[in-house]
């Protein structure tokens, strides 16, 4: 049996490993930018899709179906991103006689439309952020809602967006004035003064529940993950379990997540995302009908292999565990390592990975999609890999993370590693005290930069430069070897020869 992974990078390699565990042969697909990429060179079969742009390669359904036919694949796993949440792709696979490793197209559709999924969840008894369903006629109507939901509330323009007509209200006496102004603003901006209200969650956490299910009707909640450390709404660090969730909240989260999964007869691995308030109340955000980037932290703590479960489920086999066989053991943390320059505003840093030294030792797992010498193309998501550490508790996991980050060397492209090295030192991070806007505030309040050399390190630098008799000439060392990207940049006058960052300093 052969399984085609319609994806690239670390997730393709992760799925290949699950295939090998199951005795399934692996099929890679690739664009012209990825011919020499690890996901191709580590596959049993590899089929070209097309040119570098995603739309002509990893997003091209006809090209992927043709590749599956050519390689004789029986199964197709979409990974995450690209076509992972495309019901049309799931249907096209089925029509071509291929088994799609993921949920039913109906479940993808039902959860894909955010407004209708909210109504569906309300019907299933899953808590959603309280709000008025009809535009308010007057301030009194809003006050009645606020009394039920509690202050603060957020007034929103029904026709709107972009902050126009949006107003935070903390007290009942402010409501009439806020309503009048929001209405006037909405009227002026959108020609429609309809205003509705939503409960405003202050400093919420992003907590999500992993669901594992099969095609025989078994559904199990496999713990929650804490994903509040986000930069501009993108997850950066994830952990399992959440430091904010105890047994009581966990039990309620599981019940709600399973109700959500039941409502769409979910039959694969998926994730139900919630916003968690400080008082332990939580609200449905969305369901991701796919394997998540951060699935390894769950695997490390709950002792399950989510990817093999997903493949087994697609083949009609039952889950290999029930809820009673699961036990939470220890704590795991994942850092997403991106080819972005954390010390210069997270600007993209495509190029060639000239040096790669991965951390090792107890509790360390590396899910990476690169090797030394790998190109990081500008065409795709700049994630290089994920560093996952596990320990007996959160304190040990953080100690191991700290140790692993000091071993992790990537040269040739700039990365987000400097961010994590600072983050592990932060008191609030170590105490688990953060929320979804915490990291943006943290980053705005400081600059990340390379650590100053100590005197001992300065002596080292002076000696090492002297040792070769004549110091290596600029441009001849490994770190300085021109890359194709840098060549182009120099030709175009973007980077001064030998300079590190060109104009973006």
């Amino acid at each position: 049996m052969r399984l085609l992974v319609a994806n690239r990078g670390e997730i393709a390699l992760r799925i290949f490993r699950a295939c090998r565990d199951l005795g399934i042969e692996t099929v890679a697909v690739y664009s012209d930018a990825d011919r020499a990429a690890p996901h191709v060179t580590k596959a049993d079969y590899a089929i070209r899709l097309g040119p570098a742009p995603s739309t002509e390669s990893y997003l091209s359904v006809p090209a992927i179906l043709e590749a599956a036919r050519k390689a004789g694949a029986a199964l197709v796993h979409p990974g995450y991103g690209f076509l992972a949440e495309s019901a049309a792709f799931a249907r096209a696979c089925a029509a071509a006689g291929l088994t799609f490793v993921g949920p039913s197209p109906e479940a993808i559709d039902a959860m894909g439309m955010k407004t209708s999924s909210r109504a569906l969840m309300e019907k299933a008894g899953v808590p959603v952020v309280p709000g008025t369903t009809q535009p308010a006629r007057d301030a009194a109507e809003l006050e009645e809602f606020a009394r039920r939901a509690g202050f603060p509330i957020l007034l929103k323009a029904a026709a709107g967006g972009g902050g126009k007509g949006m107003r935070r209200v903390d007290r009942a006496e402010d409501l009439p004035n806020a309503f009048a102004r929001a209405r006037a603003e909405a009227e002026a901006s959108f020609g429609d003064g309809a205003i509705y209200a939503e409960k405003l969650l202050e400093r919420p956490r992003h907590v999500e529940v992993q669901i594992a299910a099969d095609r025989r009707g078994n559904r199990v909640a496999v713990g929650e993950r804490e994903c509040s450390i986000q930069r501009r709404y993108q997850k950066v660090v994830e952990e399992c379990p959440s430091p904010a969730v105890g047994p009581e909240v966990r039990a309620r989260l599981f019940t709600a997540a399973l109700a959500a999964a039941d409502a769409v007869a979910y039959d694969s691995c998926g994730t139900v995302e919630f916003l968690l308030a400080a008082d332990g109340s939580f609200y449905f955000l969305e369901m991701n009908t796919r394997l998540q980037v951060e699935h390894p932290v769950t695997e490390e703590v709950w002792g399950v292999d989510l990817v093999t479960e997903m493949i087994r489920a697609a083949l009609g086999e039952p889950l290999s565990f029930g809820p009673d066989q699961l036990a939470l053991r220890g704590h795991a943390i994942e850092c997403r390592v991106y080819a972005e320059d954390a010390t210069r505003g997270f600007s993209p840093s495509p190029g060639v990975v000239e040096r790669l030294r991965l951390p090792e030792g107890p509790g360390v797992r590396n899910d990476v999609g690169i090797e030394a010498g790998s190109a990081v193309p500008i065409d795709y998501d700049p994630m290089l890999g994920k560093l996952v550490v596990a320990g007996r508790d959160r304190a040990q996991a953080i100690a191991r993370l700290s140790r692993a980050l000091e071993e992790y060397e990537i040269g040739g492209v700039e990365t987000t590693l400097p961010l994590f090295r600072e983050l592990v030192l932060d008191e609030d991070f170590r105490a688990g005290l953060f929320h979804t806007q915490w990291l943006d505030g943290w980053l705005a309040s400081r600059g990340l930069s390379d650590r100053d050399a100590t005197e001992e390190e300065a002596l080292f630098a002076a000696i090492s430069l002297s040792v070769d008799g004549s110091a290596p000439l600029a441009g001849t060392s490994v770190a300085d070897r021109p890359t194709r990207w840098r060549d182009t940049a120099r030709r175009e006058g973007l980077r001064p020869a030998g300079g590190r960052s060109g104009l973006r300093r």
Partner: protein
């Protein structure tokens, strides 16, 4: 293999210090600092890195390369360090070829789409001020001024797709206001 080299080290928060390194033999080097003279053991590793053991027993492994402007780039362990270590001779040699203040072109480093233009011709901007927001690799990137400058011309507009090397903004160095 006797060799002697001088370096200037800009100590963070202190006076620059001169370091004089003399290679004694295949494994030993002496270093003279303003405060002391010490003898260190060094070894070249197969992957090109160096390991140095100081008299205290402190061991440091990493790599250092000298950039063309005479400054060093140093990695110790897995980290790049901020270090102002220069070779005074090379610095002098580089001085003559340094380019003086001329109008600078701010270009796109990667292909993308201009999301926002934050400046208009005539604006005076500080070093670090955002000029243009460029979307590429699914991310919004703020293109910033490298130094205090005056905006001479804006060569792009919001919504426009740009290729690598496209000129976005022309600047003229000068004090910000």
């Amino acid at each position: 293999m006797k060799a002697r080299r001088r370096f200037r080290w800009g100590r963070p928060g202190g006076e620059p210090a001169e370091l004089v390194v003399e290679i004694r033999d295949a494994t030993r080097a002496s270093v003279k600092t303003p405060d002391a003279e010490l003898l260190a053991d060094f070894a070249r590793l197969p992957d090109g890195r160096q390991s140095v053991i100081l008299p205290s027993g402190r061991q440091v492994t990493g790599r250092t390369t000298l950039r063309c402007e005479g400054r060093a780039e140093t990695w110790v362990g897995a980290r790049r360090l901020a270090i102002r270590l220069s070779d005074p001779l090379r610095e002098l040699a580089g001085e003559g070829s340094r380019v003086n203040s001329v109008a600078a072109e701010v270009r796109a480093q990667i292909p993308g789409r201009v999301v926002e233009v934050r400046v208009v011709p005539g604006d005076r901007v500080c070093a670090g001020a955002t000029l243009v927001v460029l979307e590429a690799m699914k991310m919004q990137n703020e293109i910033r001024a490298e130094s205090d400058a005056r905006v001479v011309a804006v060569e792009c507009s919001a919504g426009q797709a740009v290729d690598t090397g496209a000129i976005l903004v022309r600047l003229e160095p000068g004090p910000a206001e």
